[in-house]
Symmetry: C2
Subunit: 226 residues, 2 copies
Amino acid sequence: MSEATHIEFRNAQPSRVANASGTIDFGMLKMQGVRVRYGRNEEVFGEGEPADYVYGVVSGTVRTMRFTSDGRRQILGFHMAGDVFGLDLGGPHSCSAEAVTACEIVLVRRSAVEKAAREDVAAAGALLTFASNQLHEAQEHAIVLGRKGAGERVAAFLLRFADRFSGRRELDLPMSRADIADYLALTIETVSRAFTQMERDHAIALPSSRRVVMCSRSALEELQAA
Amino acid sequence: MSEATHIEFRNAQPSRVANASGTIDFGMLKMQGVRVRYGRNEEVFGEGEPADYVYGVVSGTVRTMRFTSDGRRQILGFHMAGDVFGLDLGGPHSCSAEAVTACEIVLVRRSAVEKAAREDVAAAGALLTFASNQLHEAQEHAIVLGRKGAGERVAAFLLRFADRFSGRRELDLPMSRADIADYLALTIETVSRAFTQMERDHAIALPSSRRVVMCSRSALEELQAA
DNA sequence: CGTAACTTTGAGACGTGTCAAATAGCGTGG
DNA sequence: CCACGCTATTTGACACGTCTCAAAGTTACG
């Protein structure tokens, strides 16, 4: 059990609507919306708030998360360019979302998405596929949290993150150790030690704390083993 | 990290098709199918198998689960009368399913479900709602695994299980300690100790190991705290 | 250049896993 | 009906991994 770090919204500032529109891409379904900027650590929406919009990341990184009653934070996922988040068609938002870095985000009215799903079967199918993928990801994460040790979790995190950029060897992590810790249900210190250990094992190099060079993908895959 | 228990399929036996039909209920969408019996610990389907059917529990309890590469088991959920499982519209089954107890299960052809979703928007909506609920449940479970200690996990498990029977005070658990352990990502021993401790705290009584009387729901809710 | 946030490192505490063994429960066959 | 054997559960002692607390280093930014 970990003591989740508490993040205050120091940098939270009123969001500015950019004078531009953008598109959310669900595969078969594409939706037009307004493009909005968010500053680092700014809240995009809060758990329990009415889900009036669906969100698509244009640039930057967003975290979705939930809090336990005693204030511990669990990050459910990181969302980057092209990703959709905040799709809660069945009621209010089931989690909160914040900008990890400065972001550009497309907002589409939920009612418009629902209308598209009602009128176009292919659109409804696209949403179903999306929800299905989300579910699969959540289950995968449950396995990581349930069945992997600290080193394995961090290795799995890096590999999955690298895969999002078609397996690039060098990564620039947009999130802090605290974010990684709250995503993997570890402490900052344990995450840091895992990085250090992987560096000692020559699985990665760390030119700086946020920059990761994957020296040996196979070593990471072994480490991930579980 | 836990050593998941290994269950062999001692009792696996060829399933018998009962000479009856049944219905899967997705709320707005109801689908006719064949009713089939499964014996204790019999496999219903395996991870990676083509998802030709969707399953609904008529009676008994089913577990869905995934295995890590080194054989550890993570149970994703328990499914009881009225529950639907095995809905993998986007590809092969993403997990395996086994009968915890002897079961009656309705099988509906996946193609029939897909056809219904294509032809009827309300049907597609019902599926989307279902997937959405599944997602929410998986995220909830990720929080339990990530942020709760052993006692909290077991308390949360009992409360959620009781809620499924509209909050009955007495429960007959269909699953073994090993199943609970693999669901909560603990060991059998730790689960057992958690039960014993809750009994000492007069939060529950244990007339037998599978029968739980919730003496003090509020005590359990405190224990669950997280 | 100074200050605050972030990261790393160390030492020790604590919770859960591991291993071992005793006990209870249950179906089967004598 | 009882005895047997198998499985499930409980309990204990100890090991190990991660958390906690503390402090030093590092980086980013005003």
